[in-house]
Each structure stands twice: as C-alpha cells, then as structure tokens.
Symmetry: D2
Subunit: 101 residues, 4 copies
C-alpha cells in the first residue's frame, strides 16, 4: 500500500483557471473503487496499491488532451513503506500526535 499525490496541469489554455480540467481528471478515479482519494488545495492524494495508482494516473494524465489541451504536465509523488502500513489518515495522525505533545 502506498500514498501518493498527483497534479495534472494543462499548459497553454487561454484561461488561467484549470479547475474544470482537474474535475475531469478526478472522474477517472470513479473507475477505481479500490483507491481512496482526497482533494487538497495543491494536489489529489490517493491511497492504494502502487500498480493501480500508476494505471489511474496515466489515465488522468490523458484527460486534458481529450478536452483540447495541447500540453499537459503531470506530477506524481509516491510514498511507499513496507515495514508498516501507510495510509492517508495514519500519516496525518502521526504528525498531529507529535504536535499536541
């Protein structure tokens, strides 16, 4: 299990607003019920099997081209740990428990 963040950014789109592209990319994740995700202000965070995450992100990367974008820059950061289970909630809880001490 891994936790990752992904951002899909179209370049050269007349308007600097790209939220409609981001929303279209997120719809790809409806086809992956085994992946949990969470929208944050700077990226979408996904939790699940690494192979499935790579497969979903490749599909998300292609979405803006279908909406007319001519250039897409996709950033993916994968955090995988094998000595213990890594989850979105567990990562945040670990930091917050140290902050509240």
């Amino acid at each position: 299990m891994a936790v990752c963040s992904v951002e899909v950014v179209p370049l050269g789109t007349q308007s600097p607003s790209v939220s409609s592209y981001v929303a279209s990319c997120l719809k790809v994740l409806e086809g992956y019920p085994d992946l949990k995700y969470q929208l944050t202000p700077m990226s979408t965070v996904i939790e699940g099997e690494v192979e499935r995450i790579f497969e979903a992100v490749l599909k998300m990367h292609r979405v803006p081209f279908a909406s007319g974008a001519q250039r897409v820059v996709t950033s993916l950061k994968v955090d995988e740990r094998r000595d213990k289970e890594l989850t979105m909630k567990g990562k945040v809880d670990a930091v917050q428990s140290k902050l509240s001490r």
Copy 2:
C-alpha cells in the same frame, strides 16, 4: 496571495519514520500568524504572501539539521495568481462545484 505545498524530508535517519521531523517543522509556522496552513497526507499546504512563505519555508528546511539530520530535501511548489484571489478553500471549492454538476 499564493497557495503553496511544502515537504521537508530528512535522509539517512536510521528509522524510515519522519513524522517527528515534520511536527518540528510545523512549529515554525506558529511564528507566522499571517500564514494559514493545513496538514495533508503528502505535504503541508500554506496560504499567504509569497515573500513570507519563502521566509518560513527556509526556516522549516533548517529544522531537521538542528535535530541531527545530515541531509534534508525540501520541496516547495508555489501557485500564485494575480487576476483573482487564490485561497486554499477557493481552490478546492472550484473543483468540487464542477464535480457535483
């Protein structure tokens, strides 16, 4: 005003757990009451003036060295928009309103 994400990662720390370093870095932000922030599973998201964000992130980058780390890799992504106000909440709302259509 800008929204940014920041991750501070110490390398060569014997244990693969780094949440105590992350918690220490977050304490730097207590000295910046003008910056809003939100902890996410993959990064800390900050909202505020770009100059102040750079100043705070430089301080956060130095924290793990004070705790004994010998190498630190800090990633910062800054998203700034001048045609309209950019906020953490506004960015997420813009995507969610398109998703719910």
Copy 3:
C-alpha cells in the same frame, strides 16, 4: 512522445548517501532501449512514450526495496505535448536560442 524527470529516494537508510540506490535504479533503463535518458544532478530525465515511461518508473521505484530500503519516495514529472514533438534536446535548445538573442 514525452519528456519526464524521475527521482527515487529511499528513506531511513542510515547513511545520507543514496547514489548506490540511484545507480541501481538506472540499470532498469537498460531494459528499455526505446527510452533515451540523461542523468542530471537532481533527477534522471527520460524521453519516450508515456506508457513505457510509467512502466519503467514503476520498476525503478521497486529497486531500493530489493536492496533493503523500507520506505521509498518516488517523484515523477511528465511533460507531454501533442501539437509538436517534444524532446530533451529540443526543450533545452528552445530556451538557449532565446537566451542568446
């Protein structure tokens, strides 16, 4: 065709030196003669088909676990353009021609 950058970073490795892990990851690319690559001080840059890049990067991400790492953070940034061919050389040349004016 796309150009991408990839960094594979093991955490909790006792030594802050990770170049041996990076070298092992690069050996994966020997199995992909259709992908061109270039080692830079901060990442490995790869040029080729997006599907093949994702496949190779997934394999690179797994390499440090086989060498004993317990946690691996892999960053991938993919830049794909469909209105014209994107190459490593073309991207650098485009900037340098503007610099020398």
Copy 4:
C-alpha cells in the same frame, strides 16, 4: 552549500510554448555570480548557498507576471547536506562511478 532544481511555469498563456518565459527567468541568475547553474530539459539546476537560492528563486517566480502571465506555478527542490560538500558535479559523479563498476 546546496543543490536545487527549479521550474517556473506560467498557466493560461494561450500558447503551450513557454521557453521564452524560462529564458527570462534565467536572466535573473546573471545577478547571482555566486550561484552556478545548469539548464536541463525539465528544470534549471542551481548550486550555492541556500539563502541566496531562495532569494533568486523568489525573483525568478515573479518574472512571468512582468511578461503578462496571470498565474505562475514555481517548483523548487532543495537538497542540502552538512556532513560533506554537495555539488552538481559531485552528485552526478557519485552515481556514474557506481554505474561503471
């Protein structure tokens, strides 16, 4: 001393070509003779003091706004090591010496 990579990307620029913006950003570095830099296909790599790098990158981030961009996304990754000197050349050499074994 640190080594970093920086990418400055304007959004909503009508054309997907952004090399003229990148070239303008690089001119900022002419004012920093103490910083070495190297243009790569996916980012500009800079070597020098961390404080100076942050100062220069903040200036680079502002350049596309002066050329008419309304939104700019700047990514900075800083790699700093205090147990030994970190240089652009040293990082690449360390990997290549392991590859040639």
